[in-house]
């Protein structure tokens, strides 16, 4: 009995230790984001100075806006393209399906740097200069296959006869797709969209190789600020503490809110 308890503690301790290591850097920044010092380890008083700096810096605000807009556009376009692609593929002949599925896997399994380099070289070779368009394409290349991959399982679960029934009852094919097929695959479409958003928000490498001159996202800006440094480095770096904390809080809020309905349902059942 005692042995069992010890084993249980060991397991909980292991999970706890790994979680502690995972959250240590984030919590450190979260704590220091509220302390008026630019160097971690030194003391200061409680203040919102890093937050006011963050929201008072037009360059930082612009790069945050850039990141969000790019992620939204890339995710939206990827979701439309990927959902249509998954739908079409589902009804294709076996060989076409296998071919498209294989091609979809390339950006998923490939090293990001290989995808980025291949796109950059291709754009230059065919004479397309780097622009917002090329960057958007780059993000869509890494996002769309993930949308396809999250829609396919829902298509497999779908009741195929409902579409036929809708057609027999006089619906046009588009109406049947919109009113009958889409509602059945919508969970896959939504998780594909969310996945695309996180992939785009996270991206550094593809952005760097395809972006127009002077365009900064959170990833490129933070990387340059930490690696190269500039006139106001210490201040800039400490405003990233505030940014990290805000992003983390948004994630926590999102996770809690998206799990709340499920939890309520469970409680109601009990």
């Amino acid at each position: 009995m005692n042995k069992q308890l010890a084993f249980k503690c060991l397991k909980a301790g292991f999970i706890g230790l790994i979680l502690l290591l995972l959250y240590a850097p984030i919590l450190l920044l979260a704590v220091y984001s509220f302390i008026s010092t630019d160097i971690i380890g030194t003391t200061g008083s409680f203040s919102f100075t890093h937050y006011t700096k963050l929201f008072g810096d037009p360059i930082i605000l612009q790069m945050i806006g850039n990141t969000l807009l790019l992620a939204f556009l890339a995710a939206l376009l990827s979701t439309i393209l990927g959902t249509l692609g998954a739908l079409g593929m589902f009804y294709c002949k076996k060989r076409t399906k296998a071919l498209l599925h294989g091609a979809s896997q390339i950006p998923v399994i490939n090293a990001e740097i290989v995808t980025a380099l291949s796109l950059a070289i291709t754009f230059v070779t065919v004479g397309i200069g780097k622009s917002y368009f090329t960057m958007l394409i780059g993000h869509m290349v890494i996002c769309t296959p993930f949308v396809v991959l999250s829609v396919i399982p829902k298509l497999k679960q779908m009741d195929g006869s409902l579409y036929e029934a809708a057609l027999d009852l006089g619906a046009s094919p588009f109406k049947a797709l919109w009113k009958v097929v889409l509602p059945q695959i919508i969970p896959g479409v939504i998780s594909g969209f969310m996945l695309a958003i996180t992939l785009s928000l996270d991206d550094y490498i593809v952005t760097v190789y395809t972006r127009p001159n002077g365009f900064e996202t959170i990833s490129t800006y933070v990387f340059n600020a930490t690696m190269r440094g500039n006139a106001h480095t210490a201040e800039t770096l400490s405003s990233f503490w505030a940014l990290t904390t805000i992003i983390f809080l948004v994630i926590v809020l999102f996770v809690v809110l998206s799990n709340l309905p499920a939890l309520r349902k469970k409680e109601a059942k009990q």
Binding site: P25, M89, M140, I218, F223, T244
Partner: protein, 263 residues
Amino acid sequence: MKIPRFSRKTLCIPYAVFLLFFVIAPMLVILVYAFTDRNMGFSFGNFVKFFSDPTKLSTIVYSIVIALITTVVCLLIAYPVAYILAHSKMKKKHVILMLFVMPMWINFVLRVNAIRELFNWIGLLGQANYFNTVFGMVYDFLPFMILPLYTTLMKIDPSLYEASYDLGGNAFTAFTRITLPLSVPGIASGVTMVFLPSMTNYVVSDMLGNSMVTIIGKFIYEYFGSDWHMGSMVALVLLIVVFISTFLTGGFKSEENVRGANL
């Protein structure tokens, strides 16, 4: 005139065209550049030049060793975590799994920056470049290992364990004869998802290795500014590595939930 019946297959045309132009064609461009010289004449010169350079070779070896250590450490941490969570009878284990995935949703560079700040504070930054790099990679890629392992472990039929106990097996034999063999697909996909970025994602090695640690991905960055033919050659080698490992592991499956999509 009769309008041809709408075929749902046609919906995939935009995606097929997209893949052709922006995925397949760029791979072919890489292939062409890798096998040509600056005058666009066919040549194996890039391969010979790259693989006969001893400094390049030693960097490649270092890079592979870093990726191997990262992968093994990830596996050693992720397997017990996934196993404990999959076998736990706790009602809230979903929440714990979520806690492992949540840091992954913070911007990648900000996350690495947070580790950098931590290392700077405790005085490790610039002191233990290889350790810092491996730590950062394990930190960043750990969920890629936990999620597929957890998914495959959850799929194992519990009645197999009951059968094993009924037949006189103990916990150890149940693990080696049931759990481990049945979790091989999860291990394979986790290893693929960790090993490759550990060789190529130079953001981590630059920011945490104090620019003293070079990994294979960094070569491509350097060549991008100077010699596309050499850069494409390195990319092609990585591409071949990917194809071989995909062939061996049977490809990426959406059900394996690698990025936490279905949580």
